[in-house]
């Protein structure tokens, strides 16, 4: 009840004042003001913290250690901070999000690795170690991203993948202008970025140069993933298959005969020659024995 009564502005002031005092810590990261004020659209509660923990264990723990146990990897330079420390907790959600997105020096960027929701969930997990933390929820509506439609087409002559991003609002279809757009090819362990990160033009179109030598599946299909980041619509991911890759159907590595092959893979001529060789030798032995037997018999006579 008390929390609800705290006026929104007061919280904002506290955060602004805090961020002013904490500037020295964030200095190295150089977080732009608009990114610093960014807030999460997902609520930081027990459920999201739990999901964030899974993401944390997989991606962050090897360097930052278990939060609160101060067992981050001390041999690294700079030493990754324990994220329950006051220093880390005093950063705004926006700053944490920015750090997670861009990375710096030995800290990798997670922009293309984790989805926006996952990134916020990690921050939710980090915040669960701070009892005095009060969340300011973002006003962006995450369901707005459902209105966005992404269209892919391939120009094989110029080898260009054309992506058009539009949103079907009530007023009609509008193009997403100047939003960040990234194209990936889906691979077994991750997403392979194609060309550079672009921005859509006034018609919501971005053109990606595609190198023709990318392997696809048996018939040349490549699963493409488009990621759009828009201030208004949030993060949008879309997957589609296009027949633009090199058809790849390489034989299994045990297909070719080698010295280490087992009987199952021996060629028939080898099996026949070998077995008949053994048989002929056996028959010859029997013939010899028969001869000896006949000599003995004639001697007796």
């Amino acid at each position: 009840m008390l929390r609800k009564n705290i006026p929104y502005r007061f919280v904002l002031t506290v955060i602004l004042v805090a961020s002013f005092y904490l500037q020295p810590f964030a200095q190295g990261w150089d977080v732009p003001a608009d990114k610093k004020a960014k807030n999460s659209y997902i609520k930081f509660d027990k459920a999201t913290a739990k999901e964030g923990e899974t993401v944390y264990t997989k991606n962050c723990q090897s360097c930052h250690g278990d939060i609160g146990k101060n067992n981050s990897l001390k041999s690294l330079k700079p030493i990754p901070p324990d994220l329950s420390s006051t220093k880390s907790q005093q950063l705004t959600d926006g700053e944490l999000f920015y750090i997670l997105n861009t990375g710096r020096m030995i800290m990798p960027s997670f922009n293309n690795v984790l989805s926006e929701t996952d990134r916020w969930k990690v921050i939710s997990y980090i915040r669960s170690f701070n009892n005095s933390y009060i969340q300011v929820l973002s006003k962006t509506d995450p369901t707005k991203s459902n209105l966005v439609k992404i269209n892919l087409s391939y120009d094989s002559i110029n080898s260009i993948v054309r992506v058009q991003v539009t949103a079907s609002e009530k007023a009609g279809v509008v193009a997403l202008k100047n939003s960040e757009i990234i194209l990936f090819a889906n691979r077994y362990f991750g997403k392979l970025q194609i060309d550079k990160t672009l921005r859509t033009d006034n018609d919501g179109i971005a053109l990606f140069r595609f190198t023709k030598n990318l392997p696809g599946d048996k018939s040349g299909n490549v699963e493409l993933i488009v990621k759009v980041n828009d201030d208004k619509y949030g993060e949008i991911l879309s997957q589609s298959k296009l027949k633009i890759g090199v058809p790849t159907d390489k034989p299994s590595l045990t297909e070719k005969r080698a010295i280490w092959n087992v009987l199952l893979k021996a060629p028939i001529w080898l099996i026949i020659t070998y077995t008949s060789g053994v048989l002929i030798f056996g028959v010859f032995l029997l013939f010899l024995l028969y001869g000896l037997f006949r000599i003995k018999k004639s001697g007796n006579n």
């Binding site: 990897l73 041999s75 030995i106 690795v113 077994y188 299994s252 590595l253 280490w260």
Partner: protein
Amino acid sequence: MSDENEKLKKNSRRKFLQDLGIIGVGSILGGSAILAGINYDNKKTKSQRIRVLTAENELLEIEKSDTTKVVKTKYENLTYLQKQGREGIVGRRWVMVVDLSKCRNARKCMAACQHAHHLRPEQHHINVLKMQESKETAPYYMAKTCQHCDNPPCVAVCPVDATFKRGDGIVLIDNERCIGCRFCIAACPYSARVFNWAEPLHAIEDEGLTYNVELNVPQRKGTISKCLFSADQLRVGKMPYCVSACPNGVYYFGDENEDAVTNGTTKETVRFKKLLEDNAGYVLMPELGTQPRVYYLPPKNKEFPFQDKDRPEAEEHLSHGNA
């Protein structure tokens, strides 16, 4: 009279024998029937009680009707696991790229590997070595695993088909078949194999566990163990234990058929051939024609200095003429 008497005598003897026969056969039949009945009863009561071994290793006798059969999942079925392990993952050709410029001897890969495969501290599927080629060249750290050769000498010498090459490139060992002759250790030019001389680390805890050929757990005394490219992880779309444990971005892992490798630390995916081309990638001992599936990027522009305490060990590689 005498004739008649004789007849009577004969009759009474015959009768006596007849009676004796009937009584004898009757008593045998009756006796055996009673015996059979007793036996049947005994059997009946005994067969309803069976002996079971509890989790606490206690031998108990319980009513058979109280038991339910444990249905094994296919992952607890040894034959299934062995078959799956031999076949591999269709359509893949795994490759690993080790970027030596990034290694700073954190040894997290080794710890993760030993933990996953239940190895003793002195047993290494992966080992970070301290190397130096000549007196004038700089020492560097080199992580070394099984090279998963496309032409593996270890597989060629195995007399019992215990170690084998899979279609997706991984060289595995089936310790259910291994006879412990150690020919493969002698044949491997990369010293990638270890032998379980002693009882394995978790011998007691692992007892009763179904042997998974893709994890080589439980380990078994008197058999070989080796790097498996974490075949069990690859099956579920995860990267090998060592690769995902590295804090310094040393390892890339991926599928050659897709021409893409993903860094275990940064999770960044790059083109495999381009990575090798741009960074002068190489393989170990190419002159042997083993065709390794592990590629190395030279320790150029090292991001971390070689530690002074490791110098003596690196210098051990120098021959006397050089030193």
